[in-house]
Structures are given as C-alpha cells and as structure tokens.
Amino acid sequence: MNLFKDIYKILATPELRNYLLEGFKNTLAVTLIAAGIGLVLGFTVAIVKIFAMDNRKLKPFAVIGNIYTTVIRGTPITLQLFIMVFAILAIPGFKVTAVILTFGINSGAYVSENIRAGILSVDKGQMEAGRSLGLSKYKTMTKIIMPQAIKNVIPAIGNEFIALLKETAIVSIVGSTVGTLTFDLNQATSTINKTIANYLAPAVLAAGLYLGIVYGITLLIKKFEKRLRASDRN
C-alpha cells in the first residue's frame, strides 16, 4: 500500500524524519512552558478569588480575575492567538514568546476555574476544624485544604494539559514558520507534504505521535493520582 510506503519513506529519510522530530520536540516544549505559565497563573487567580470571598481588600483583584477568566474562556483561542501575535506583541523576534504566552494565558483561565472548584469541593468542616483549633486561615489552607483540593483537581488539570497539547497545533495559522523553528507537528507535517506530495502519510504519522504523547501523559497522571489517593485507601 502507498500509505505504508510513504510512511516508511518519511521515517527513512533523515531530512524528513528530522522535521517530525523537531516538531515533536517543539510541541512538547511549547506545551510544557505554556502549562507552567498556566498553572502559576491559574493557581494565583484561584487563590485570590477564594480569599476575596471574605476579604474586602482583595475584591478588586477578584474582579480583575473574573474579567480575565470570562474573556479568555469566552473567546476562541484562534482569535486570541491572532490578536496577541499581530497586535499586542507584534514585535519582530517576539513571535515565539507571543505564541507561548497566549497558550499560557489561555490555559491559566481554565486551570484557575479547575483549582477554584477543587478548593470549594473540600468540605467546609475541614476549614472549620482547622480554625477551631486556633490555626490561621492561611495555615489551614496550606496544610489541610490545598492538599485535598489538589488531589481532587489532578484529573481536570490533566485534561487541560492534554487539550493544551493538542491546541498547540493551531500555531500554524499565524505563519508558516516562527523564526527558524518549525513549530509543531502539524507544521512539520505540512512541510513534509511539499516534499512527498501526499497528505495522508505525514498526517497519520503526526496523529500517531500526538496519540502517543497523550497516552503517555494519561498514564503518568493516573500514576500520580494513585499515589495521591493513598490516604483514601491506606
């Protein structure tokens, strides 16, 4: 069959294979950095929103947080990418930064809602018990609430990570290459297309790679979750 021949050809030709590997690497890099930004951002926004529930001084920050999550979750990431790359950060040489930032900021909005829900899902009695022993709100939060919230939130964060990984595929819409980087698997695929004039083989290969990464991540998350759940089963 032609498909297998083409796949073989891609894998056997160092130049073509390197495109795929480069894309693979960049996809992982962008996802990891963006996820890092998203986690820090999301965590901060969630904490601010939770503490603002009974602290007036934090209310304005919570309002900003609400605007942030509403706008980011209410608009397509494609548009966010366009606006960021061609307007807000339209500085030569900053395309890569702009792209990574966009994904990070986008992911942060979803992560913050996940973490917030996770914190709220911890029984109110846990906070009351901590406070009734004389522990401060902050101490109870860090020692009791957060460890339980994080456990509840791992699956949702894992999903968000997987979604982010696949979303990086749309980078190609803001330009065929970003600097000298071939930016993601799709990008690599389309470059390969030009060489072998067949869309199916590179697409199938790229899909296989995506699937492989996602499956790997799923396994990792499951393992992590299992370890955290030790206190439930003991």
């Binding site: 029984d123 009734s132 022993l133 004389g134 522990l135 020692k143 460890p147 439930d232």
Partner: protein, 298 residues
C-alpha cells in the same frame, strides 16, 4: 469562664438568636437542648466565633472575643452624640437617656470622635485575637471533621506543633498517651477514611484535648453516629466531665444530659426559655414549650 451578653445573630433578615445571656463557670457542664432550628448550634458556634454574632458580646475569661457592643457599656453610650442630644434637647436625665438609647437602639453609624475613641480604647483593652482564644476552646463537630489528608497521629499533633505550643516529640508523646487511653493507639497511622464513626469522633475529641483546652464545646457529637457507636463517644465525654472539664454540649441525648449536666438550657426560636438543674427541667418543667418538647423526646 464564658460569658455571653445579649447576643443576637441574624442571617440576612432572619433572626436566629435574639438576646441570649449565658454564663458558664469553670468546671460547669452546661447542656443545651431544644428542637432543630432553635438556634442551639448557632449559639455554640458563636462562642468560638465560627459564626460572627450580629450584636452582643462573648467573653472568655477576661478577654473579649467579639467586637465591642456599645449598648452594653454605659460609659461608652455617654460619649455618643445621641446621648448629648437627649440630655440637652429632650432634657432627659442621664439614666433615662441611657435607658432610651438601649431600649430603642438609638445609636447611629456616626456618633462622633469621642464615641469612636471610647469604643476603640475598650476594644484594645479587652479584645483578644480569635486564633489565640480558640487554642483554649476545644470544639467537636457533628461530622467529626478529622483532616482527611492526614493520619490519626498527624491530625492530633498538627495544631500543637504548628502553633509552637509543643515540640513534635512532646506532641507525639502526649497524643500517644491519649490514644492509648481511648484504646486507639493501634490506629495512629491510619487515615480517617479507615475509621468507624465512633472512632472518628473519639479521635476528634482527643485532637481537641491535645491543645489542653480550658473548655470544650460539643455540637451534637453523636447525631451522625450509628446507634451502636453512640455509647463509646458518650462514655469518653462522661470521663471528661468527671475529670472536671468545663463543657458546653448541644445534644439530643437526654439520658446523657441528665447524667452529666449541672445545668440544662432549653432553647426555642432563638431564645433561652428555661434553664435549671436536670431535676428541675426533666421532672418539673415550667414552660409549656419545654413540657411539649420533653414529652416528644423522652
């Protein structure tokens, strides 16, 4: 030890507690009874400020736990503009003016600098940070509220160690001793999800005891338990009572109340309707609502 003065609590516009006055002396065991919705749990939670009272004061020894309630202090009322107005314009004498202000809640949001200063001075003199006070006020909840992410031992030593009341070694040895006394030392490394309700509640009580509290509050400690586990928890509470612990207990266990209480308080619709010794309340209730309630539960 605990003094509650003219305490009210409103949720939105609904008044849950209206004008509660209650004093609990050192070593006293006070049991609060009443039908659900009568405000007894809210009253208990107002003592350690898990609910913030709308007005009134809660005192713990010589320390004020709530904000100052100006209506309770004549010397503060006297600094208010309203007081001056009543004296000068309406030509009331001092005691009439104070009475009028207290009865009709005449104090406004702004009562002048003097008044503000007086309130602040009083607050600074007597108020104590709530976290500090709570270290000495143990609380047991209906749903135990053991920390799910920590083992039994870590549940017990977390607060004393975090609050630097004991070193970790001291806390562990104290916790071990208490666990041995209730026969649950072998569960020290278990997580709460592995324990029965009765075990959880007894460990929750011991968790409070690790802080060496001077008073213990119990909020329906046996209501969420299977019937066969109620006994073990009550047994531990009785032991505490005979050791001389000051206790305030909200419960539906009337036999237990009869046994340990120095004083029974019957609450209905946010008010204390009747109080007295167990004999007085159970054998000879005076208020018709008390009679009605007791006839249903006994």
């Amino acid at each position: 030890m605990i003094e509650i003065k003219n305490l009210t609590k409103k949720f939105d516009d609904k008044e849950i507690l209206s004008g509660i006055n209650l004093t609990v002396k050192q070593g006293e065991k006070v049991v609060i009874i009443g039908s659900s919705g009568s405000g007894k749990s809210t009253l208990l939670r107002c003592i350690n400020q898990l609910e913030i009272p709308t007005s009134g004061e809660v005192w713990f020894g010589n320390y004020l736990l709530t904000d100052v309630d100006p209506y309770l202090h004549e010397e503060i009322i006297k600094t208010s503009k309203t007081f001056q107005k009543l004296i000068n314009k309406n030509s009331l004498d001092e005691s009439q003016a104070i009475e009028a202000i207290q009865a009709q809640k005449l104090l406004k949001h702004q009562e002048g600098k003097e008044f503000k200063k007086a309130v602040k001075a009083y607050q600074e003199k007597y108020h104590i940070g709530i976290d500090q006070a709570r270290q000495k006020i143990g609380m047991c909840f209906q749903h135990f509220n053991l920390f799910n992410n920590l083992t039994v031992m870590d549940n017990l030593i977390l607060a004393p160690v975090e609050l630097k009341m004991m070193t970790k070694e001291e806390a562990v040895s104290k916790a071990s001793e208490l666990l041995k006394r209730i026969g649950l030392y072998d569960k020290k490394d278990a997580y709460p999800s592995k324990l029965s309700g009765g075990q959880k509640q007894r460990i929750a009580i011991v968790r409070s005891l690790c802080m060496n509290p001077s008073v213990m509050l119990f909020d329906e400690p046996t209501s969420a338990l299977d019937p066969e586990m109620v006994g073990e928890v009550l047994e531990l509470m009785k032991e505490l009572a005979t050791m001389g612990m000051t206790m305030v207990v909200v419960t539906h266990e009337m036999r237990f109340a009869k046994e340990i209480a120095n004083r029974i308080i019957f609450m209905d619709e946010g008010k204390i309707l009747e109080e007295g010794t167990p004999q007085e309340i159970f054998n000879n209730p005076k208020n018709p609502r008390t009679k009605d309630f007791l006839s249903k539960v006994l």
